[in-house]
Protein backbone atom coordinates (compact mmCIF):
# COMPACT_ATOMS: atom_id res chain seq x y z
CA UNK A 1 0.00 0.00 0.00
CA UNK A 2 1.26 3.45 -0.91
CA UNK A 3 -0.01 6.78 0.46
CA UNK A 4 1.07 10.41 0.28
CA UNK A 5 2.63 11.68 3.50
CA UNK A 6 2.85 15.17 4.99
CA UNK A 7 4.93 14.94 8.18
CA UNK A 8 4.90 18.68 8.92
CA UNK A 9 7.63 20.54 10.81
CA UNK A 10 6.99 18.98 14.23
CA UNK A 11 7.64 15.39 13.20
CA UNK A 12 11.18 16.40 12.22
CA UNK A 13 11.82 18.15 15.55
CA UNK A 14 9.72 18.44 18.71
CA UNK A 15 7.72 15.34 17.76
CA UNK A 16 10.62 13.34 16.32
CA UNK A 17 9.41 10.41 18.46
CA UNK A 18 6.06 10.47 16.64
CA UNK A 19 7.81 10.71 13.25
CA UNK A 20 10.30 7.89 13.90
CA UNK A 21 7.70 5.51 15.33
CA UNK A 22 5.26 6.27 12.47
CA UNK A 23 7.90 5.55 9.83
CA UNK A 24 9.08 2.37 11.55
CA UNK A 25 5.54 1.00 11.99
CA UNK A 26 4.61 1.75 8.37
CA UNK A 27 7.82 0.22 7.03
CA UNK A 28 7.11 -2.96 9.03
CA UNK A 29 3.53 -3.15 7.73
CA UNK A 30 4.55 -2.54 4.09
CA UNK A 31 2.82 0.83 4.00
CA UNK A 32 4.87 3.06 1.76
CA UNK A 33 4.88 6.72 2.84
CA UNK A 34 5.51 8.97 -0.18
CA UNK A 35 6.49 12.31 1.35
CA UNK A 36 5.09 15.38 -0.48
CA UNK A 37 8.08 16.71 -2.42
CA UNK A 38 9.40 20.04 -1.09
CA UNK A 39 6.51 20.60 1.37
CA UNK A 40 6.40 23.79 3.45
CA UNK A 41 5.07 24.70 6.89
CA UNK A 42 1.25 24.80 7.03
CA UNK A 43 1.33 28.13 8.88
CA UNK A 44 -0.47 26.67 11.92
CA UNK A 45 -2.08 29.01 14.48
CA UNK A 46 0.33 31.94 13.85
CA UNK A 47 -0.85 32.23 10.22
CA UNK A 48 -4.62 32.17 10.76
CA UNK A 49 -4.25 34.47 13.77
CA UNK A 50 -2.49 37.18 11.81
CA UNK A 51 -3.02 36.90 8.05
CA UNK A 52 -5.94 35.25 6.30
CA UNK A 53 -4.19 34.92 2.94
CA UNK A 54 -1.14 33.17 4.46
CA UNK A 55 -3.44 30.84 6.39
CA UNK A 56 -4.96 29.60 3.14
CA UNK A 57 -2.04 29.95 0.73
CA UNK A 58 0.66 28.12 2.73
CA UNK A 59 -1.34 24.87 3.08
CA UNK A 60 -2.67 25.27 -0.47
CA UNK A 61 0.85 25.00 -1.92
CA UNK A 62 1.20 21.64 -0.13
CA UNK A 63 -2.17 20.41 -1.38
CA UNK A 64 -1.22 21.31 -4.97
CA UNK A 65 2.08 19.43 -4.63
CA UNK A 66 0.33 16.43 -3.04
CA UNK A 67 -2.44 16.29 -5.63
CA UNK A 68 0.09 15.68 -8.43
CA UNK A 69 0.93 12.23 -7.03
CA UNK A 70 -2.68 10.99 -7.25
CA UNK A 71 -2.29 9.28 -3.84
CA UNK A 72 -4.42 9.70 -0.73
CA UNK A 73 -2.71 12.05 1.72
CA UNK A 74 -2.01 10.91 5.30
CA UNK A 75 -1.19 13.55 7.93
CA UNK A 76 0.04 12.55 11.40
CA UNK A 77 0.21 16.04 12.97
CA UNK A 78 -3.21 17.11 14.18
CA UNK A 79 -2.46 20.80 13.62
CA UNK A 80 -1.35 20.23 10.02
CA UNK A 81 -4.28 17.87 9.44
CA UNK A 82 -6.76 20.48 10.65
CA UNK A 83 -5.29 23.20 8.45
CA UNK A 84 -5.09 20.93 5.36
CA UNK A 85 -8.71 19.80 5.72
CA UNK A 86 -10.02 23.31 6.42
CA UNK A 87 -8.20 24.62 3.33
CA UNK A 88 -9.51 21.71 1.24
CA UNK A 89 -13.04 22.55 2.45
CA UNK A 90 -12.58 26.25 1.73
CA UNK A 91 -11.50 25.58 -1.86
CA UNK A 92 -14.12 22.87 -2.45
CA UNK A 93 -16.98 25.19 -1.47
CA UNK A 94 -15.96 27.37 -4.41
CA UNK A 95 -16.64 30.88 -3.06
CA UNK A 96 -15.43 33.98 -4.90
CA UNK A 97 -12.69 34.32 -2.26
CA UNK A 98 -11.54 30.73 -2.67
CA UNK A 99 -11.32 31.09 -6.47
CA UNK A 100 -9.20 34.17 -6.05
CA UNK A 101 -6.83 32.54 -3.51
CA UNK A 102 -6.52 29.44 -5.71
CA UNK A 103 -5.63 31.58 -8.75
CA UNK A 104 -3.12 33.66 -6.82
CA UNK A 105 -1.35 30.57 -5.48
CA UNK A 106 -1.50 28.98 -8.96
CA UNK A 107 0.32 32.02 -10.36
CA UNK A 108 3.15 31.26 -7.91
CA UNK A 109 3.23 27.43 -7.90
CA UNK A 110 2.19 26.93 -11.55
CA UNK A 111 -0.90 24.80 -10.85
CA UNK A 112 -4.33 25.15 -9.29
CA UNK A 113 -5.71 22.89 -6.58
CA UNK A 114 -8.47 20.82 -8.15
CA UNK A 115 -9.83 19.58 -4.82
CA UNK A 116 -9.47 15.88 -5.62
CA UNK A 117 -7.32 14.89 -2.62
CA UNK A 118 -8.53 12.53 0.06
CA UNK A 119 -6.88 13.80 3.24
CA UNK A 120 -6.75 11.49 6.24
CA UNK A 121 -5.40 11.83 9.76
CA UNK A 122 -2.94 9.05 10.59
CA UNK A 123 -5.34 7.86 13.31
CA UNK A 124 -8.14 7.62 10.76
CA UNK A 125 -5.83 5.71 8.43
CA UNK A 126 -5.03 3.16 11.15
CA UNK A 127 -8.72 2.88 12.08
CA UNK A 128 -9.65 1.49 8.65
CA UNK A 129 -10.84 -2.12 8.80
CA UNK A 130 -8.20 -3.50 6.43
CA UNK A 131 -5.33 -1.71 8.20
CA UNK A 132 -6.60 -2.83 11.62
CA UNK A 133 -6.87 -6.41 10.37
CA UNK A 134 -3.32 -6.27 9.02
CA UNK A 135 -2.13 -4.82 12.32
CA UNK A 136 -3.85 -7.59 14.32
CA UNK A 137 -2.25 -10.27 12.17
CA UNK A 138 1.21 -8.86 12.88
CA UNK A 139 0.92 -8.34 16.65
CA UNK A 140 3.50 -10.35 18.61
CA UNK A 141 2.35 -9.14 22.03
CA UNK A 142 -0.38 -7.03 23.61
CA UNK A 143 -0.42 -4.04 25.92
CA UNK A 144 -1.29 -6.48 28.76
CA UNK A 145 -4.10 -4.39 30.18
CA UNK A 146 -2.05 -1.18 30.44
CA UNK A 147 -4.48 1.38 31.85
CA UNK A 148 -4.71 4.36 29.50
CA UNK A 149 -6.89 7.33 28.66
CA UNK A 150 -7.21 8.31 25.00
CA UNK A 151 -6.52 12.01 24.54
CA UNK A 152 -7.76 13.38 21.20
CA UNK A 153 -7.26 17.11 21.89
CA UNK A 154 -9.15 19.95 20.30
CA UNK A 155 -8.01 20.21 16.67
CA UNK A 156 -8.52 16.67 15.40
CA UNK A 157 -12.31 16.84 15.00
CA UNK A 158 -13.23 20.54 14.99
CA UNK A 159 -14.69 22.31 13.09
CA UNK A 160 -16.66 19.13 12.48
CA UNK A 161 -17.98 19.97 9.00
CA UNK A 162 -14.50 20.23 7.54
CA UNK A 163 -12.34 17.92 9.63
CA UNK A 164 -14.28 15.37 11.73
CA UNK A 165 -13.80 11.65 11.03
CA UNK A 166 -15.34 10.71 14.37
CA UNK A 167 -17.90 12.21 16.76
CA UNK A 168 -16.55 15.65 17.74
CA UNK A 169 -17.71 15.40 21.38
CA UNK A 170 -17.56 11.64 22.04
CA UNK A 171 -14.94 10.22 19.68
CA UNK A 172 -14.20 6.47 19.79
CA UNK A 173 -11.57 5.72 17.12
CA UNK A 174 -8.54 5.96 19.40
CA UNK A 175 -10.41 4.04 22.14
CA UNK A 176 -11.13 1.16 19.71
CA UNK A 177 -7.57 1.08 18.39
CA UNK A 178 -6.12 0.94 21.92
CA UNK A 179 -8.51 -1.89 22.83
CA UNK A 180 -7.29 -3.84 19.79
CA UNK A 181 -3.73 -3.35 21.07
CA UNK A 182 -4.75 -4.84 24.41
CA UNK A 183 -4.98 -1.75 26.60
CA UNK A 184 -7.56 -1.20 29.30
CA UNK A 185 -9.18 2.01 28.07
CA UNK A 186 -10.49 4.16 30.91
CA UNK A 187 -13.49 6.42 30.33
CA UNK A 188 -12.97 10.10 31.11
CA UNK A 189 -14.55 13.44 30.19
CA UNK A 190 -11.43 15.24 29.00
CA UNK A 191 -10.82 13.56 25.61
CA UNK A 192 -11.44 16.73 23.67
CA UNK A 193 -10.22 19.41 26.09
CA UNK A 194 -7.54 21.83 24.92
CA UNK A 195 -3.94 21.46 26.19
CA UNK A 196 -3.05 25.12 25.61
CA UNK A 197 -1.88 24.58 22.04
CA UNK A 198 0.55 27.15 20.74
CA UNK A 199 0.90 28.99 24.08
CA UNK A 200 3.68 26.69 25.35
CA UNK A 201 6.25 29.46 24.92
CA UNK A 202 4.37 32.79 25.22
CA UNK A 203 1.89 31.76 27.96
CA UNK A 204 3.40 28.80 29.76
CA UNK A 205 1.28 29.51 32.86
CA UNK A 206 -1.93 28.81 30.93
CA UNK A 207 -0.50 25.61 29.47
CA UNK A 208 0.66 24.49 32.92
CA UNK A 209 -2.85 25.03 34.34
CA UNK A 210 -4.65 23.26 31.49
CA UNK A 211 -2.28 20.30 31.30
CA UNK A 212 -2.25 20.05 35.12
CA UNK A 213 -6.01 19.54 35.06
CA UNK A 214 -5.71 16.96 32.26
CA UNK A 215 -3.15 14.90 34.19
CA UNK A 216 -5.19 15.18 37.40
CA UNK A 217 -8.28 13.90 35.61
CA UNK A 218 -6.35 11.14 33.83
CA UNK A 219 -5.09 9.91 37.21
CA UNK A 220 -8.57 10.13 38.67
CA UNK A 221 -9.81 7.94 35.81
CA UNK A 222 -7.22 5.36 36.86
CA UNK A 223 -4.81 5.79 33.95
CA UNK A 224 -1.10 4.95 34.08
CA UNK A 225 -0.43 6.69 30.77
CA UNK A 226 -2.10 9.08 28.37
CA UNK A 227 -2.18 8.33 24.64
CA UNK A 228 -2.37 10.99 21.96
CA UNK A 229 -2.10 11.55 18.20
CA UNK A 230 -1.06 15.22 18.35
CA UNK A 231 2.47 16.69 18.65
CA UNK A 232 1.26 19.76 20.54
CA UNK A 233 -0.76 17.76 23.07
CA UNK A 234 2.18 15.43 23.70
CA UNK A 235 4.78 18.19 24.00
CA UNK A 236 2.66 20.41 26.21
CA UNK A 237 1.86 17.69 28.75
CA UNK A 238 5.31 16.10 28.59
CA UNK A 239 7.17 19.38 29.15
CA UNK A 240 4.79 21.22 31.49
CA UNK A 241 3.87 18.20 33.66
CA UNK A 242 7.28 16.55 33.53
CA UNK A 243 7.25 15.64 37.22
CA UNK A 244 3.73 14.26 37.35
CA UNK A 245 4.78 10.68 36.66
CA UNK A 246 2.29 10.48 33.80
CA UNK A 247 3.94 9.42 30.54
CA UNK A 248 2.27 10.67 27.35
CA UNK A 249 2.64 8.26 24.46
CA UNK A 250 1.91 8.55 20.76
CA UNK A 251 -0.41 5.77 19.58
CA UNK A 252 2.22 4.81 17.01
CA UNK A 253 4.71 4.10 19.81
CA UNK A 254 2.27 1.59 21.28
CA UNK A 255 1.71 0.01 17.86
CA UNK A 256 5.50 -0.31 17.51
CA UNK A 257 5.59 -2.03 20.92
CA UNK A 258 2.95 -4.67 20.08
CA UNK A 259 4.65 -5.31 16.75
CA UNK A 260 7.83 -6.00 18.72
CA UNK A 261 9.92 -3.64 16.58
CA UNK A 262 13.66 -3.26 17.12
CA UNK A 263 15.20 0.02 18.24
CA UNK A 264 12.25 1.43 20.17
CA UNK A 265 14.66 3.42 22.35
CA UNK A 266 15.16 5.71 19.36
CA UNK A 267 11.73 7.24 20.01
CA UNK A 268 10.85 6.21 23.57
CA UNK A 269 14.18 7.70 24.73
CA UNK A 270 13.15 11.15 23.53
CA UNK A 271 10.37 11.74 26.05
CA UNK A 272 10.95 14.09 28.97
CA UNK A 273 8.85 11.83 31.21
CA UNK A 274 10.38 8.44 30.33
CA UNK A 275 7.65 5.88 29.53
CA UNK A 276 10.05 2.90 29.45
CA UNK A 277 9.89 1.88 33.13
CA UNK A 278 6.09 1.64 32.91
CA UNK A 279 6.16 -0.29 29.62
CA UNK A 280 8.83 -2.66 31.00
CA UNK A 281 6.82 -3.27 34.17
CA UNK A 282 3.94 -4.50 32.00
CA UNK A 283 6.36 -6.54 29.85
CA UNK A 284 5.35 -4.53 26.79
CA UNK A 285 8.95 -3.74 25.76
Amino acid sequence: MKVGYYPGCSLHSTAADYGLSTEAVCRHMNIQLAEIPDWNCCGATPAHSTNEFLAKALPLRNLILAEESGLDLVVPCTGCYNVCRQTHGFISRGSAKSHSVNSEVASIVGKRYKGSLKIMHLLEFFSQDEVLAELKSRMVRTLNGLRVVPYYGCLMLRPAGDVAFDDPEQPQKLDRLLEVLGAQVKPWSYKMECCGGSFAIPKADIVTDLTGELVKQAKKAGAEAMVTACPLCQANIDTRQANSGMPVLYFTELIAAVLGLDGQDRWLGKHISDPRPLLKSHEII
Partner: protein, 189 residues
Protein backbone atom coordinates in the same frame (compact mmCIF):
# COMPACT_ATOMS: atom_id res chain seq x y z
CA UNK B 1 -20.95 35.33 34.22
CA UNK B 2 -22.74 38.71 34.12
CA UNK B 3 -20.29 41.50 33.55
CA UNK B 4 -19.92 45.13 32.62
CA UNK B 5 -20.76 44.35 29.02
CA UNK B 6 -24.39 44.18 30.04
CA UNK B 7 -24.46 46.54 33.03
CA UNK B 8 -21.92 49.34 32.50
CA UNK B 9 -22.55 52.98 31.63
CA UNK B 10 -21.28 52.65 28.08
CA UNK B 11 -23.94 53.76 25.66
CA UNK B 12 -23.61 52.08 22.31
CA UNK B 13 -26.15 51.70 19.59
CA UNK B 14 -26.51 48.32 17.94
CA UNK B 15 -24.30 48.60 14.91
CA UNK B 16 -25.30 47.09 11.66
CA UNK B 17 -22.06 48.05 10.03
CA UNK B 18 -19.59 46.25 12.33
CA UNK B 19 -21.74 43.12 12.46
CA UNK B 20 -21.97 43.18 8.66
CA UNK B 21 -18.23 43.56 8.18
CA UNK B 22 -17.58 40.72 10.61
CA UNK B 23 -20.19 38.49 8.96
CA UNK B 24 -18.69 39.13 5.55
CA UNK B 25 -15.06 38.66 6.60
CA UNK B 26 -15.54 35.68 8.93
CA UNK B 27 -18.52 34.04 7.26
CA UNK B 28 -20.13 33.70 10.70
CA UNK B 29 -23.82 34.54 11.30
CA UNK B 30 -23.16 36.71 14.40
CA UNK B 31 -26.68 38.18 14.45
CA UNK B 32 -28.16 34.78 15.24
CA UNK B 33 -26.59 34.76 18.73
CA UNK B 34 -29.16 34.75 21.56
CA UNK B 35 -26.64 34.68 24.42
CA UNK B 36 -27.14 31.12 25.65
CA UNK B 37 -23.48 31.16 26.79
CA UNK B 38 -22.69 27.55 25.93
CA UNK B 39 -19.56 28.92 24.22
CA UNK B 40 -18.35 30.62 27.41
CA UNK B 41 -19.11 27.59 29.57
CA UNK B 42 -16.68 25.47 27.54
CA UNK B 43 -13.95 28.03 26.91
CA UNK B 44 -10.57 26.95 28.37
CA UNK B 45 -9.33 30.55 28.76
CA UNK B 46 -12.56 31.94 30.20
CA UNK B 47 -11.04 32.48 33.66
CA UNK B 48 -8.10 34.55 32.37
CA UNK B 49 -9.62 36.60 29.53
CA UNK B 50 -11.21 40.01 30.12
CA UNK B 51 -14.24 39.15 27.97
CA UNK B 52 -16.27 35.96 27.84
CA UNK B 53 -16.87 34.35 24.46
CA UNK B 54 -20.56 35.35 24.37
CA UNK B 55 -19.59 38.93 25.22
CA UNK B 56 -17.40 39.13 22.12
CA UNK B 57 -20.41 38.36 19.95
CA UNK B 58 -22.61 40.78 21.90
CA UNK B 59 -20.08 43.59 21.46
CA UNK B 60 -19.89 42.86 17.74
CA UNK B 61 -23.68 43.24 17.54
CA UNK B 62 -23.43 46.46 19.57
CA UNK B 63 -20.64 47.79 17.38
CA UNK B 64 -18.28 48.47 20.29
CA UNK B 65 -15.08 48.37 18.26
CA UNK B 66 -12.99 49.98 21.01
CA UNK B 67 -13.73 47.40 23.68
CA UNK B 68 -13.27 44.59 21.22
CA UNK B 69 -9.97 45.68 19.73
CA UNK B 70 -8.50 46.52 23.15
CA UNK B 71 -9.47 43.17 24.67
CA UNK B 72 -6.88 40.56 25.65
CA UNK B 73 -9.47 37.88 24.78
CA UNK B 74 -8.53 38.21 21.10
CA UNK B 75 -4.99 37.06 21.84
CA UNK B 76 -5.83 34.54 24.55
CA UNK B 77 -8.17 32.60 22.24
CA UNK B 78 -6.56 29.19 21.66
CA UNK B 79 -8.65 28.46 18.53
CA UNK B 80 -9.68 25.15 20.11
CA UNK B 81 -13.14 25.66 18.57
CA UNK B 82 -15.05 24.31 21.57
CA UNK B 83 -17.33 27.34 21.14
CA UNK B 84 -17.88 26.45 17.50
CA UNK B 85 -18.69 22.83 18.33
CA UNK B 86 -21.34 23.77 20.90
CA UNK B 87 -23.00 26.85 19.40
CA UNK B 88 -26.68 26.11 18.64
CA UNK B 89 -26.59 28.85 16.00
CA UNK B 90 -23.54 27.67 14.10
CA UNK B 91 -21.25 30.55 15.07
CA UNK B 92 -17.49 29.96 15.21
CA UNK B 93 -16.35 32.72 17.56
CA UNK B 94 -12.69 31.86 17.02
CA UNK B 95 -13.16 32.77 13.33
CA UNK B 96 -14.72 36.08 14.40
CA UNK B 97 -11.75 36.65 16.70
CA UNK B 98 -9.30 36.00 13.82
CA UNK B 99 -10.96 38.85 11.88
CA UNK B 100 -10.77 41.12 14.94
CA UNK B 101 -7.06 40.36 15.38
CA UNK B 102 -6.47 41.25 11.74
CA UNK B 103 -8.31 44.56 12.39
CA UNK B 104 -5.91 45.34 15.26
CA UNK B 105 -2.99 44.99 12.85
CA UNK B 106 -4.73 46.84 10.01
CA UNK B 107 -5.42 49.82 12.26
CA UNK B 108 -1.84 49.71 13.65
CA UNK B 109 -3.13 49.37 17.21
CA UNK B 110 -1.10 47.88 20.05
CA UNK B 111 -2.35 44.36 20.85
CA UNK B 112 -3.61 43.93 24.43
CA UNK B 113 -1.23 40.98 24.91
CA UNK B 114 2.40 41.47 24.04
CA UNK B 115 3.97 38.04 24.03
CA UNK B 116 1.50 36.07 21.93
CA UNK B 117 1.65 38.28 18.81
CA UNK B 118 5.47 38.41 19.13
CA UNK B 119 5.47 34.62 19.19
CA UNK B 120 3.31 34.44 16.06
CA UNK B 121 5.58 36.93 14.31
CA UNK B 122 8.76 35.07 15.26
CA UNK B 123 7.23 31.77 14.11
CA UNK B 124 6.22 33.15 10.71
CA UNK B 125 9.52 34.99 10.22
CA UNK B 126 11.39 31.68 10.29
CA UNK B 127 8.86 30.12 7.89
CA UNK B 128 9.44 33.04 5.53
CA UNK B 129 13.21 32.54 5.82
CA UNK B 130 13.34 28.75 5.30
CA UNK B 131 9.89 27.55 4.20
CA UNK B 132 9.54 25.46 7.35
CA UNK B 133 9.37 26.22 11.05
CA UNK B 134 12.90 26.58 12.48
CA UNK B 135 12.25 26.22 16.22
CA UNK B 136 15.61 27.36 17.53
CA UNK B 137 15.56 30.44 15.29
CA UNK B 138 12.00 31.20 16.35
CA UNK B 139 12.91 30.92 20.04
CA UNK B 140 15.89 33.23 19.50
CA UNK B 141 13.82 35.88 17.70
CA UNK B 142 11.04 35.62 20.28
CA UNK B 143 13.43 35.99 23.21
CA UNK B 144 15.09 39.04 21.68
CA UNK B 145 11.74 40.68 21.00
CA UNK B 146 10.29 39.96 24.45
CA UNK B 147 13.55 40.07 26.46
CA UNK B 148 12.75 36.75 28.10
CA UNK B 149 16.26 35.33 27.69
CA UNK B 150 16.37 33.12 30.76
CA UNK B 151 12.90 31.54 30.59
CA UNK B 152 12.83 27.78 29.99
CA UNK B 153 16.58 27.47 29.42
CA UNK B 154 16.72 24.15 31.26
CA UNK B 155 13.84 22.77 29.22
CA UNK B 156 15.49 23.97 25.99
CA UNK B 157 18.67 22.09 26.87
CA UNK B 158 16.70 18.89 27.58
CA UNK B 159 14.98 19.20 24.19
CA UNK B 160 18.32 19.77 22.42
CA UNK B 161 19.85 16.73 24.16
CA UNK B 162 16.96 14.57 22.94
CA UNK B 163 17.18 15.85 19.36
CA UNK B 164 13.76 17.50 19.71
CA UNK B 165 15.24 20.85 18.80
CA UNK B 166 17.57 20.96 15.82
CA UNK B 167 20.55 23.29 15.52
CA UNK B 168 20.19 23.70 11.75
CA UNK B 169 17.04 24.67 9.82
CA UNK B 170 15.50 22.60 7.01
CA UNK B 171 15.13 24.61 3.84
CA UNK B 172 12.49 24.27 1.12
CA UNK B 173 14.03 24.03 -2.38
CA UNK B 174 11.57 26.40 -4.05
CA UNK B 175 11.89 28.98 -1.31
CA UNK B 176 11.05 31.67 -3.90
CA UNK B 177 7.49 30.30 -3.97
CA UNK B 178 7.09 30.52 -0.20
CA UNK B 179 8.55 34.02 -0.20
CA UNK B 180 6.15 35.06 -2.98
CA UNK B 181 3.23 33.78 -0.86
CA UNK B 182 4.46 35.89 2.08
CA UNK B 183 4.84 38.95 -0.20
CA UNK B 184 1.24 38.59 -1.40
CA UNK B 185 0.09 38.15 2.19
CA UNK B 186 1.78 41.42 3.19
CA UNK B 187 0.22 43.29 0.22
CA UNK B 188 -3.24 42.21 1.33
CA UNK B 189 -2.91 43.33 4.92
Amino acid sequence: MESAVFTGNTVTQPSESLARVIEKESGQPVNRCYQCKKCSAGCPVGPVADLHTNEVIRLVQMGDTERLLNSNRLWLCLSCKTCQARCPNGIDTSAVIDVLKAMVFKQSRTPAERRIPEFYKSFLDTVNMTGRLYELGMIGLYKMRTKTYTEDIGLGIEMLKRGKLKFLPEKVKHLDQVKAIFRKGREKK
